[in-house]
Assembly symmetry: C2
DNA sequence: CAACAAATTGGAATGGTTCTAAGGTGCAAG
DNA sequence: CTTGCACCTTAGAACCATTCCAATTTGTTG
């Protein structure tokens, strides 16, 4: 019931809240994101979903991902130029982009850090969101 | 002389350091970036440069911008999906993306903030760079 | 000034995403 | 029910930013 649940059917609920329908495509896409909590591209999601829904189209994958982003069930992330990554982690977190492997890791943020970072904004700036991106290398043994 | 100068000919120097030539195209592009310190796209740079160098090609603009980025004279920035923005501000700064106007503002960072933010990284993560992006609205009266 | 490397050019090609038009799906009112 | 209608999905075309390519041009060095 809370706003932070990621239960299987948070989806149906959230969609309904926005006056949208729960469809097989939307559900499978959301499941696929929850199951493997990495940062797939739309293409990658397309690939994963096809085994379940062989006739789904790439356009639908884009549509559904966009819908999930609207419903705040998924975050869209863009580093550098290149395909958008989709991230089902809803807790406040930063991203670490490993330049060797190309992998993206979530870094949980300590309580209050975002608030603190926001204090650097001069008067007149009203931030609705903050994104923190690290680039570098992560030790392989993790 | 110093690593932080942005004098007109820091360019020639930096290029030489990398074994590259100083060309009219590279110079005009760099000038154009220094003159109006905003966050133009390659296309926008192309437009601005054409009045000076009417026969320059878009490919050259991309090439030169890439060169400037390599030489650390310009930063390439990507918010959301969409064209890369080029930023001649070399001091450590965050970006504020005004969602109403689409404009991007530089926010200077207080001494030590990046170091501090970096401390949230768990062991084994070695960050070479940190990027902070705010989204929201900025008061128009600025 | 010849020869060679570096840089620029226009146009074609690419990759990710969005658009469009046509067809399905499922609830809702008669 | 069954008809209407809004919502969804689909395939493919279109789009846009960027990169690639092959052909010049420019500059430097021997």
């Amino acid at each position: 019931m809370s706003t932070l649940t990621s239960t299987p059917d948070a989806l149906a609920q959230r969609l309904a809240d926005s006056g949208l329908r729960s469809t097989p495509q939307r559900e499978v896409i959301y499941d696929v994101l929850l199951k493997k909590r990495d940062h797939p591209t739309a293409d990658e999601v397309f690939a994963r979903v096809k085994s379940e829904l062989p006739t789904i189209s790439l356009a639908t994958v884009y549509n559904c991902l966009e819908t999930l982003v609207q419903c705040n069930l998924v975050r869209a992330v863009n580093f550098e130029r290149g395909p958008t990554l989709y991230c089902p982690n809803l807790r406040p977190h930063a991203h670490f982009h490993d330049e060797q492997t190309g992998a993206t890791h979530d870094i949980d943020l300590p309580e209050g850090l975002l608030a603190q970072v926001t204090t650097i904004l001069p008067q007149g700036y009203d931030a609705k969101s903050v994104e923190i991106i690290f680039r570098g290398k992560a030790q392989s043994a993790r």
